[in-house]
């Protein structure tokens, strides 16, 4: 994944800073609460939501089970429609292919449609190293790029910024990237959107090469689908001469009809709209309409590792709607950057450690970045049981015996032993109760708990002693 996230601290440490940043907390709270209620309303409009959810989940599971067949079929369909298919086992290979394709056109500029896959592989950095400028054209991506920032949300990468901050970034940075921000730019969202329109228009009109991802690829027809709102996607997909799409292999669906499920569930889950403003569907190249050359780069980059895990593979159903982020109480407080990945939030906590492995400090901490409250599973339009996968990945991390986990394992074993010997457990409880007057409310070494919470006062006697003493309350005592 992207080099910008290398060496990220573990989640708890990164989250600690975010929790204390009151502006960030306010921005995230405002944005996530706004979209939460809207999503609930948009979903409630469809009486068959649970059936659509189940169908979406099964379509994805069926695809994943036979992904080899569908990828081969997809390759044939795209090729027959005039496209060229490339395969990339990892980020480096994908970057090499794309860089080579851009260089072959002789261009030194590309326009980009928002794409998680190209962020994941750090494509912009790879292009820059070869002297190619990549311009992000999605409004939020533009804010992140101009602000020399990192994305913190799947759908709205600049969700951590409020309107005032966005205005300041535009005023300060637009000029060095092209057309400056209009004089006296306000922080009214419509004015900010207008400034982006003016700034990017010249880039769209002269672009010869565009790079995109895709939300879906239809094996049966070779059709690629991009959902968007602003029209920057359409600009990139139709005006340039060459289009390069980098897409994760799990974005495949078997049939054209399968799209009817996701066309209903994705917009409502994502932007809480009945339908997003623009959806583009293209199959190879079309005579005289849109790019003359179309390249599809199929990306693995750890996906087959996730696919090999019988519990973890459900994460590959993800359609990147970000409903799980918007509803997550941990994401709301920790912010997206703490997840150390282009995939933040609950889905990121199960996707990143599977794509990258659990050896780094951040990846080993992500499965624990959840209270397992289950709100993410409830809203997921493809029914990914995120808490189940989190616990499964915790088992993997605990099994590695990394920092802290050896001691933890010993403690868990001891606890299990005590709990499998009720007499020992009762003795421990009794001792704790009898010495309760000696227990401080904030014992040293327990700061993780007592930083903001007191410990409860222990009772005079544990329940089991009361039961024995009173015969379950029946004896008069």
């Amino acid at each position: 994944m992207s080099g910008t996230f290398v060496g990220m601290p573990a989640f708890p440490k990164a989250a600690r800073e975010a929790v204390r940043d009151t502006t960030l907390r306010g921005n995230l709270r405002h944005a996530t609460h706004t979209i939460r209620d809207k999503r609930a309303k948009a979903v409630a409009e469809l009486a068959d939501w649970q059936r659509l959810r189940e169908a979406g989940s099964r379509i994805k599971d069926m695809t994943l089970r036979h992904l080899d067949d569908y990828l081969v079929q997809l390759e044939e369909s795209v090729t027959a429609a005039g496209g060229t298919v490339h395969w990339a086992a990892d980020a480096e290979e994908a970057n090499r292919i794309v860089t080579g394709l851009v260089k072959a056109t002789g261009e030194t500029e590309v326009v980009k449609v928002k794409s998680m896959a190209t962020q994941e592989i750090g494509l912009n950095e790879a292009l820059a190293a070869e002297g190619i400028h990549a311009y992000e054209t999605d409004l939020a991506e533009l804010i992140v790029q101009l602000g020399d920032d990192r994305p913190s949300h799947i759908l709205v990468p600049a969700i951590h910024r409020n309107r005032g901050e966005i205005r300041d970034i535009f005023r300060e940075k637009m000029a060095s990237w092209g057309r400056p921000a209009p004089e006296g730019l306000t922080d009214i969202p419509a004015d900010l959107a207008d400034a982006a329109r003016l700034h990017l228009r010249e880039k769209f009109l002269r672009a010869k090469v565009a790079i995109s991802g895709a939300n879906f690829m239809v094996a049966e027809t070779g059709t690629l689908v991009v959902f968007e709102s602003e029209g920057n996607g359409r600009m990139c997909l139709t005006l340039p001469e060459t289009l390069i799409s980098v897409v994760g292999i799990e974005k495949t669906v078997p049939t054209w009809q399968d799209l009817e499920v996701f066309l209903q569930t994705l917009p409502r889950s994502s932007t809480a709209e009945r339908m997003n403003p623009y959806t583009s569907m293209w199959t190879g190249t079309a005579d005289g309409d849109g790019p003359r050359a179309f390249h599809l780069v199929l990306l693995d980059n750890g996906r087959t590792d996730a696919l090999a895990d019988d519990i973890g593979r459900q994460a590959l159903r993800c359609i990147r709607c970000s409903a799980c982020l918007n509803v997550c109480p941990v994401y709301e407080r920790a912010g997206g950057h703490a997840y150390g990945s282009v995939y933040p939030g609950p889905i990121g906590a199960i996707l990143s450690p599977q794509l990258r492995g659990t050896t780094s400090e951040i990846d080993a901490s992500l499965p624990y970045a959840s209270s397992l409250c289950g709100a993410c599973y409830e809203v997921c339009p493809v029914a990914i049981d995120i808490p189940e996968v989190l616990v499964h990945l915790r088992e993997r991390v605990a099994g590695q015996g990394g920092p802290g986990h050896r001691l933890e394992k010993a403690a868990m074993k001891a606890a299990t032993w005590a709990m499998d010997h009720p007499a020992a457990m009762a003795a421990g409880e009794r001792l704790a109760s009898r010495t309760r007057a000696l227990h401080p409310k904030r014992p040293p070494g327990a700061t993780a708990w007592t930083g903001s919470r007191d410990l409860p006062e222990l009772p005079e006697e544990p329940f089991r002693d009361w039961w024995r003493r009173t015969g379950g309350g029946k004896n008069r005592t």
């Binding site: 600690r16 189940e388 299990t416 499998d420 919470r453 009361w466």
Partner: protein, 251 residues
């Protein structure tokens, strides 16, 4: 009908009053409750922290201890969720690892017999008015496991609404997690506390005297924050409210 109380490890050691209230409440409703002394813990802390194998002896113990009862009642939603959702998984994984179907059979036997207290009252005993009297303002925190995994729905609310003298106040953001999450509370203390502080703020905004829950692990966390803040609000398990009568008030 042989009914066993699974008091849970947290209630046994820290909140015996909840266990006692559960016993007395059920007795008042004519249910003879037994407390098999071999019980300890359902294994949720181990399992949710990633120690599935360490959980297995406790699954077997739960199966043995409660083998002879028609119903197992527990005043803890998260422990019921552990049994219902995760025991079958543990059994399935053990079988997949070539270790036979013993754990799977424990799950199969136990799952249909285990009830969270409010489920037992409403679904098995068919009561919502338990004859309680509690002249206080109360706001109810539904707890994630009860709300989303068990689907307790409006059962706790119906029970509380039938309590004489009790005024129920709507908790803003009721469905949001309080931030406890077992070992989450110590592995991610800052986020956990931030969530808890927001929960307490919402509860305090209702002006209620009591924050009621059906799961003492959440109340351990919320109560710890209330105590630290010296808040006038008091956390109380629903069993203790339902036990309360004019003759024997619980607050």
């Amino acid at each position: 009908m042989r009914v066993a109380l699974f008091v849970t490890c947290v209630n046994d050691a820290v909140y015996p009053a909840t266990g006692i209230a559960t016993v007395k409440l059920l007795e008042r409703l004519g249910v003879d409750v037994d407390f098999p002394a071999g019980q300890t813990c359902c294994g949720q802390p181990q399992f949710n922290t990633g120690y599935r194998h360490e959980t297995e002896p406790l699954v077997r113990r739960m199966g043995r201890v409660f083998a002879d009862y028609d119903h197992v009642v527990t005043p803890s939603g998260s422990c019921v969720a552990m049994i219902r959702d995760n025991y079958p998984r543990i059994g399935h994984r053990a079988a997949a690892e070539g270790r036979g179907d013993e754990l799977g059979r424990v799950a199969q036997s136990l799952v249909p017999r285990v009830y969270e207290l409010t489920e037992f009252l409403v679904d098995v005993l068919g009561v919502t008015d338990v004859g309680a009297y509690f002249p206080h303002t109360v706001t109810y925190h539904p707890s994630c496991h009860g709300l989303r995994l068990l689907g307790l729905g409006d059962r706790p609310r119906r029970l509380l609404e039938a309590v004489k003298g009790l005024e129920l106040r709507e908790l803003p953001g009721a469905e949001e997690c309080c931030g406890f999450g077992g070992t989450f509370a110590v592995k991610n203390p800052d986020v956990s506390a931030a969530m808890g502080i927001d929960k307490v703020r919402n509860a305090a905004a209702t002006g209620a005297e009591v924050l009621c829950g059906a799961d003492n692990s959440c109340l351990l966390h919320i109560g710890g924050i209330l105590h630290r803040q010296d808040a006038p609000l008091r956390a109380l398990h629903i069993a203790e409210i339902l036990l309360s009568t004019e003759a024997e008030p619980q607050l």
